[in-house]
């Protein structure tokens, strides 16, 4: 047995001390209250979801961890594991409308199942701990718990079975497939696949926008230094990287996010480059510099934002993202610095009175 489990055969050591006593998994007396949940999504729930999407008080969208009763479950009713992020928990309870079930909410610090599984907070230790603190073995007669498939990166089903006596059954990726899954007790290949449809991509745009807010400050500064069109170019670059890029993700050529961003940025930059170059009364060298600044700065910004969207996407591997960083971040940096120098040269020309 591994050292971290040797403290007590039935009482795995966990990172945080248990509030309740830690009994052996078989027939231990329940020490925690079972809470009651419904399948109804209220206006307050919807408001909470909307705020979460805008990253408002990011870590406040939590439900209390522990065991919940949905409907009138019996000792034979199925048990579902979920995370204590409101969007995760609400997806499960609303999908199970009309079904009597138990929901075991793990403490994932208000993070959704997949992300928490990646971090290990939706993990073997926490699942075993919750099964024991909820006294699940005395609540249900069966020994099976349905865990969302996306929890699998954090859960070792073998270890959970060995330590808790409960067999892990991996349910579908999406909560909305749960009723169908309960009928057949198998997930179809489609239920097991993670997609990234436009609705899923678009719903992330607000978070990306909020993260890019400081860049809008740059736009305001640009307004005073270089005029409204330059400010508009900056705003367009940020919007292209945070909203347009997620929308167009599958349609932009190449597989790398950085090159997709460069291409999109180039398209966004072209009208600005033409507009700058065609400014009346501007000498030829200044027109070229202005166009070059737009053609270098906008794609660099969009490309960087696009690269950052890898963390929000559902399919990029760390090996690949690492490669992208080493391949393209230097290119972005050179483009940004050169573009900024061109802009500075224009500013210097204006100060010197030649423009």
């Amino acid at each position: 047995m591994e050292p971290e489990q040797s403290a007590s055969a039935c009482c795995p050591r966990t990172t945080e001390p248990l509030v309740s006593s830690c009994g052996c998994s078989t027939g231990a007396p329940r020490t925690e209250e079972i809470e009651t949940a419904t399948s109804t999504i209220t206006f307050a729930n919807r408001l909470d979801h909307a705020l979460a999407r805008w990253k408002w008080r990011r870590s406040d969208h939590r439900v209390r961890p522990g065991l919940y009763r949905l409907g009138s479950p019996t000792a034979e009713s199925p048990v579902f594991a979920s995370a204590n992020y409101t969007l995760s928990f609400d997806a499960v309870r609303s999908a199970l409308a009309g079904i009597d079930a138990w929901i075991l909410v793990l403490d994932t610090k208000g993070i959704n199942v997949w992300c928490a599984a990646g971090k290990g907070t939706f993990g073997t230790d926490e699942l075993v701990r919750r099964i024991e603190s909820a006294g699940l073995a005395s609540v249900v007669r069966h020994r099976s718990i349905i865990v969302p498939q996306l929890g699998a990166p954090g859960i070792s089903s073998l270890e959970v079975a060995r330590r808790s006596g409960f067999a892990v059954e991996y349910g579908p990726v999406r909560a909305r497939d749960l009723p169908e899954y309960l009928r057949t007790r198998t997930a179809t290949p489609a239920m097991r696949r993670v997609e990234f449809p436009i609705a899923d991509r678009l719903v992330l745009a607000p978070v990306e926008l909020v993260a890019a807010l400081p860049m809008f400050l740059a736009a305001i500064v640009l307004w005073f230094l270089a005029g409204p069109i330059a400010a508009l170019a900056a705003v367009s670059a940020v919007l292209a990287g945070t909203v347009l890029f997620p929308v167009l993700l599958p349609f932009i050529p190449t597989r790398d996010f950085s090159t997709k961003g460069l291409l999109l940025g180039l398209v966004v930059a072209l009208p600005f480059a033409f507009s700058f170059a065609a400014t009346p009364g501007l000498p030829g060298w200044a027109a070229v510099l202005a166009a070059v600044a737009a053609l270098l700065l906008v794609p660099a910004v969009v490309s960087y934002l696009a690269l950052n969207f890898t963390g929000s996407s559902t399919f990029t591997s760390r090996t690949g993202v690492r490669k992208e960083i080493f391949r393209y971040v230097p290119v972005m940096a050179v483009m940004a610095v050169t573009g900024a120098l061109a802009g500075l040269a224009l500013g210097a020309g204006r100060l010197a009175g030649v423009l």
């Binding site: 979460a52 999407r53 990253k55 990011r58 992020y85 969007l87 995760s88 994932t108 610090k109 993070i111 959704n112 997949w114 992300c115 928490a116 599984a117 990646g118 971090k119 498939q149 699998a152 990166p153 954090g154 859960i155 070792s156 089903s157 073998l158 991996y170 997930a187 097991r192 696949r193 993670v194 899923d200 719903v203 992330l204 978070v207 993260a211 190449t254 597989r255 790398d256 996010f257 090159t259 690269l307 950052n308 890898t310 963390g311 929000s312 996407s313 559902t314 399919f315 990029t316 591997s317 760390r318 090996t319 690949g320 993202v321 690492r322 490669k323 992208e324 960083i325 391949r327 971040v329």
Partner: protein
């Protein structure tokens, strides 16, 4: 060209496979498929290195350096002089793997 994702750290030793099919259940990108007598590596370049298969394989037939493919976390780790591969401190949100 312009594809950084064709190779991953996923390694599968088919000789050890006991055909339990667990990896085909947990993989969100159908990287593994049921084959005659053992599981087959069907779409290796679709692997996102989440590590679900390796963690749930009963015979350790699968290894993968799992981690979160989040550029922001890796770049900020690199800038702070920390290890890019162990650090993930993204804010993240639903749908991202970077909680």
């Amino acid at each position: 060209m312009f594809d950084s994702y064709s190779e991953t750290s996923l390694r599968y030793d088919a000789g050890r496979c006991v055909d339990c099919g667990r990896c085909t259940q947990v993989c969100p990108h159908a990287v593994f498929a049921e084959g005659p007598g053992r599981v087959e590596l069907a779409r290796p370049s679709a692997c996102m290195e989440c590590g679900a298969c390796a963690r749930n394989c009963p015979v350790e037939a699968i290894t993968v350096q799992s981690g979160v493919g989040c550029a922001w976390a890796m770049i900020s780790a690199a800038l702070r002089g920390k290890d890019m591969d162990t650090e993930c401190s993204c804010g993240g949100d639903d749908g991202t793997c970077c909680g």
